[in-house]
């Protein structure tokens, strides 16, 4: 029974044309429909997001550019001169210091303490980076460096928290 059906199926398959040439005018229509679909699925907010990202990146670049001229950037530039691979750290240090320098509501003593300790962290990062140049596969050095990144972010977060609390008091 199966052999009879198989033979019928084989004959039907053999009767099919070997190739099909589509009409030449099909593709423009397909392309147009695809194009319409793509345009239709792009939501309006995506433009806004893209524009916001553009503005944010621009503002960040501007802010960072200004940071390079602030007194806090001097120390970071000094770090860059010490180690040829330290440009990245110098830029990060400048950015971090500027965020503390520009916080408007910090008491001078508090600002001083935070900046002093921020520099301790940045200098320690530099030391570990120099050590990693000698021993690049040392996982413990990398772990220490990771700790310092966390310390730095916590310090900056604490700065922002103090700032936010002061703003909250002002808003009352």
């Amino acid at each position: 029974m199966n052999n009879v059906n198989d033979n019928k199926l084989q004959k039907a398959v053999d009767r099919l044309p070997r190739d099909i040439t589509p009409a030449n005018d099909l593709w423009p229509g397909i392309a147009a429909r695809i194009g319409r679909k793509q345009r239709a699925t792009r939501p309006l907010w995506a433009y806004g997001l893209a524009a916001s990202l553009f503005v944010a990146v621009g503002a960040g670049s501007l802010w960072f550019g200004l940071a390079q001229r602030t007194p806090g950037a001097g120390a970071a530039a000094g770090i860059a001169a010490v180690s040829p691979g330290a440009t990245y750290f110098a830029q990060r240090a400048a950015f971090a210091e500027n965020s503390v320098q520009s916080a408007p509501n910090l008491a001078p003593a508090t600002r001083g303490v935070i900046l002093q300790n921020l520099r301790i962290i940045e200098n320690s990062m530099q030391q570990i980076e120099a050590a990693l140049e000698k021993d690049p596969n040392n996982p413990r050095l990398r772990a220490l460096l990771f700790d310092l990144y966390q310390n730095e972010s916590r310090l900056l977060a604490a700065t922002q928290q103090i700032q936010a609390q002061t703003n909250q008091r002002n808003d009352l």
């Binding site: 806004g48 503005v55 503002a59 008491a107 303490v113 320690s124 030391q127 021993d135 413990r140 009352l172």
Partner: protein, 333 residues
């Protein structure tokens, strides 16, 4: 053309938001409290010298409010001192003195709890005020306490609810029976003594010294340039770290415990009192490692002068790891 207009509008709108945000930041430049005028909630009975929960500056304070046994108590005082004590009454009582420069003390209530705020005039900041307000506050022992100060010292004791205390330059002393403790300072010293079982304690400072004694549970203690000291605790989990301060640990280890010590340029001193039952994983990139029991540290890398020490003491019931960049590590029994 229409899409271009939409994009342009979004760019302009976003730019306006950014500019507005920066302007708002620039405008908020005073460190003093603004004037507040929130009335106390009538759902909370009061026994007070004031009719509306507001006490003017330059006076002594004696205010009492009914409170939930486990409600929130929030205290905000820039300068002076805040002393909080847990008691067995469902009341919050505030006593103390307000300096002449204080505009008012405001006590407000809502469904979540009670807020106590010392308010200064706009032209006065915490530094000008000196001893702005010295407050002694009794709260239900199970209250969830939040205290925030700038230069005011904070003391708290006899509390079993969660505690979240923060100061910028004041000192912070906590004698806690709470299982959840989070205490932080920038330049002030932090001292925590705990008694609750299975407590989770976070104690941090930027440049102050952090001390934790007598607690049971898990501890995270850190400072950037200050020393960190932990002693006489029963800890199943410990993470102590500093960047340039010294770390000192005094005490034993528990079965299954995990103890981590991280430092960069400060020293790490571990005094176990007796030979602990633990695996040790110790390394320093350029510092020394001294071990008063077990094997000596060895140099394992041809690239650095650093030392490493890996060994098991006793049956290895706990895990001790310590690492530093240039600080020395001392392990003593």
């Amino acid at each position: 053309m229409k899409r271009l207009s939409i994009i342009l509008a979004y760019v302009l709108l976003s730019f306006a938001v950014v500019v507005a945000s920066f302007s708002l930041l620039a405008l908020t430049s005073s460190t003093a409290y603004a004037h507040g005028s929130q009335d106390s909630d009538s759902d909370y009975d009061s026994d007070s010298d004031s009719d509306n929960g507001v006490i003017e500056g330059g006076k002594s304070v004696n205010e009492t409010r009914n409170a939930k046994p486990d409600g929130e108590v929030r205290v905000d005082n820039l300068a002076g001192s805040v002393k909080v004590r847990g008691w067995d009454k469902n009341e919050v009582r505030v006593t103390g003195t307000l300096g002449d420069l204080v505009e008012k003390l405001e006590i407000t209530s809502d469904d979540s709890g009670i807020s106590i705020r010392v308010i200064l005039p706009h032209h006065v900041n915490g530094g000008d005020c000196g001893e702005c307000a010295d407050l002694e506050i009794e709260v239900p022992a199970a209250s969830r306490l939040e205290v925030s100060t700038v230069s005011a010292d904070i003391e708290a004791k006899d509390l079993t609810g969660s505690e979240q205390l923060g100061t910028v330059s004041g000192s912070l002393i906590l004698d806690s029976a709470a299982t959840r403790v989070d205490v932080r300072s920038v330049s002030g010293d932090v001292t925590v003594a705990g008694s609750a079982k299975n407590a989770h304690v976070t104690a941090t400072s930027v440049s102050g010294t952090v001390r934790v004694t007598g607690m049971d549970g898990a501890l995270h203690a850190e400072s950037v340039s200050g020393d960190v000291k932990a002693g006489n605790n029963r800890l199943t989990g410990l993470e102590m770290s500093s960047t340039s301060g010294n770390l000192t640990y005094q005490g034993g280890v528990l079965k299954g415990g995990d103890y981590e010590f991280h430092n960069v340029s400060g020293d790490v001193v571990l005094n176990f009192g007796a030979s602990p039952s633990a695996h040790f994983d110790v390394s320093s990139f350029s510092g020394d490692i001294d071990n008063s029991f077990g094997p000596r540290a060895t140099r394992v890398s041809k690239y650095s002068p650093g030392m490493e020490l890996h060994f098991t003491s006793g049956s290895g019931d706990a895990m001790v790891s310590a690492r530093s960049l240039s600080g020395d590590i001392h392990i003593n029994n």
